[in-house]
């Protein structure tokens, strides 16, 4: 009998690649950690990690860098999700970094804790002796990420030097390093926002409710709709109103914008993403501070 052609769908391809990367991390590093924000990308990475090592448990812990500015739904979701995975969760707290005087909180109405996360993250990596931190970042998210490697080398200050990255060829990833250095590893490098949503649908992955449309009190700041939470103070001229919205990313509640949307199912969201005219990060005010904002933060050791 003739064999069917050996075609593979793009999602199978991406899944196999991500699983391969996750297994390489387990094999090449002594003490990896999976950075878990509770957002859809890190949920996908955790889901892939479960598949990669099944029927064994994920052989490394998850770590949440907690800004303290969370949407309550995402915290409840996080704890449930981690319990179901049977994984170990570490929490690195930005509040603790502030209390210990490691960082100084930004002042003023537009203050955000996003920048402070970097210090908390690097401290936690050092404290636990993690040598690889797996993240959910994708190359399509932002221009500065287009050249990012799967295995991204960080020096002993946790910094990323675009000139000192290792070429990655074929299936061969080089995770060797000197003492004090570490790697960031991005299994979803080749995924786009659309791929992630299609995969969530294919795998029936559960997500926190804030990704789907719901009523919420919001206000407009700098052209972005922001949720009114305990962590923000309204400025003059900012009027709260009730709208039907959803979030495209999950981050610090003080700087993550939402969009007006009636998309209440994954199918609706896939249709919305297909028609979208704004990138996900377009709704994050921290990325719009300057055109190279992301690149600057990355050099300092941001996710």
């Amino acid at each position: 009998m003739m064999h069917r052609s050996y075609t593979v769908t793009h999602l199978e391809h991406l899944e196999s690649e991500a699983i391969f990367i996750l297994r390489e991390v387990a094999a090449q590093f002594q003490k990896p950690v999976l950075l878990f924000s509770g957002g859809k990308d890190s949920i996908c990475v955790a889901h892939l990690a479960r598949k990669a090592f099944w029927p064994a448990r994920i052989p490394f812990p998850l770590m949440h860098v907690d800004t303290g500015h969370n949407f309550s739904e995402t915290m409840a979701f996080r704890d449930r999700f981690v319990a179901e995975l049977g994984a170990r969760l570490e929490v690195a707290s930005v509040q603790a970094s502030i209390d210990e005087g490691r960082v100084v909180e930004e002042k003023g109405a537009l203050a955000s804790r996003n920048g402070l996360q970097t210090v908390t993250l690097l401290d936690a990596i050092e404290k636990h002796g993690f040598d690889a931190a797996i993240g959910g970042a994708r190359r399509d998210e932002e221009k500065a990420r287009a050249k990012e490697r799967f295995f991204s080398h960080r020096d002993d200050f946790g910094q990323w030097d675009p000139k000192n990255q290792r070429p990655e060829l074929w299936n061969l990833f080089n995770g060797k390093m000197n003492a004090g250095e570490h790697f960031r590893v991005f299994p979803l490098s080749n995924w786009t926002e659309m791929d992630v949503w299609q995969y969530i649908k294919r795998e029936k992955i559960e997500l926190p409710g804030i990704y789907f449309s719901h009523r919420r009190t919001v206000f407009e700041r700098g052209g972005t709709l922001m949720a009114l939470t305990d962590f923000v103070t309204l400025q003059e001229g900012e009027e709260p109103s009730e709208e039907v919205v959803r979030f495209r990313t999950v981050g610090d509640a003080t700087c993550t914008g939402c969009t007006l949307s009636k998309a209440s199912t994954v199918d609706d969201i896939i249709a919305e993403v297909a028609a979208a005219r704004q990138t996900e990060r377009g709704t994050r005010s921290d990325d719009r501070r300057s055109e190279t904002a992301m690149e600057d933060r990355k050099k300092q050791g941001y996710f």
Partner: protein
Amino acid sequence: MAETDGKDSYLDMELLRFSTAGSVDDGKSTLIGRLMYDTKTIFEDQLEAVEQTSKQRGDENVDLALLTDGLRAEREQGITIDVAYRYFATPKRKFIIADTPGHIQYTRNMVTGASTANLAIILVDARHGVIEQSCRHSFIASLLQIEHVVVAVNKMDLVDWSEERFEEIVRDYKDFASRLDIPQITFIPISALHGDNVVNRSENMPWYEGSSLLFHLETVYIGPDANHIDARLPVQWVVRPHSDKWHDFRGYAGRVAGGVFKPGDEVTVLPSGFNSRIRKIHTFDGEIEEAFHPHSILVTLEDDIDISRGDMLVKPNNRPRVDQDIDAMICWFSEKRKLQAGDKLLVRHTTREVKAIIKSVQYKVNVNTLHKEEDNLTVGLNEIARVHLRVASPLFFDEYTRNRITGSLVLVDPFTHETLAGGMIRSL
């Protein structure tokens, strides 16, 4: 498996990876910007950012090329110096572009980008025709064994959409390419700036009867690019759950590098040489009946054999070469050090890492003339050389021309851990 109602058509979308190469100003950035723009991959906020930059610089038009431009340091120098990956999709396929700069110094980047590509687009400026750099790009495509090459003859608007000029370039290129090993070459006359033959067929070139570039990318047959003959499974990780439910479970995880594996297949384990049968192929979603590249799988065997990372499962009647002497073409990547006979390095090959010594440098290849150079055998940045290596314990390999995964390796510095070179194994 995949549902097939129209709404979920993405469930049978394929993936095509291609690299792009051209000399500076051939219009590569414009072409990529055009492909992304016309397939609606570019978002308003990205376009706005680029419009702003264009305005600040005092450009006349919005420079679509800026859309694909990378990091600040490079922007300041006005050049692109590393491989950038870009993504777009049509309802038929998802595309991954390895965008590599064309300047001679960047052979390294071109090799890196080409290593994972199924197809290479080589841009030629219709006014300049086939130049030294086009030859270099083609040589690298053939060295890296890219199945499909598209020669995109750009800026046809500047040669009056001339069929004669196009045919002349096709002739020149074929003449040169006859010395190379490229299975399929397709020529397409385009104007990246105006969009002719990029997404839609051009009305300015009615004499051209082939398909547009995007149509070609969507339909070129990529099924058989991977090796489906020689079964190879490099073991990546041993899965031992140590749980009550899976008490004695011992599974071998890896990504199929070639051939097809099925439950019941007889396998040989390398290096031990023990034979067993595949009991099951497991996935989180259930057992599967066959696996081939690029599947990441987990297999259990009928017999209890000691197997660890770096071992390889193959079929008893189809084994790879098992040898400590390796003959390879390498491309040197390091700016910091050079390579000479006698150097001691590390080799990474499939899931193995072994010590190696460079026995000899046979010759270097001049990437522009394809001539062999044998007088100076020190290999530096961006140079391509044929070398003999001896490794401390055997590798299980195939010729690169037969299998890109089991036939490729990288060299690593044992002290700085830098990735020094990529290599393609040849038969000795």
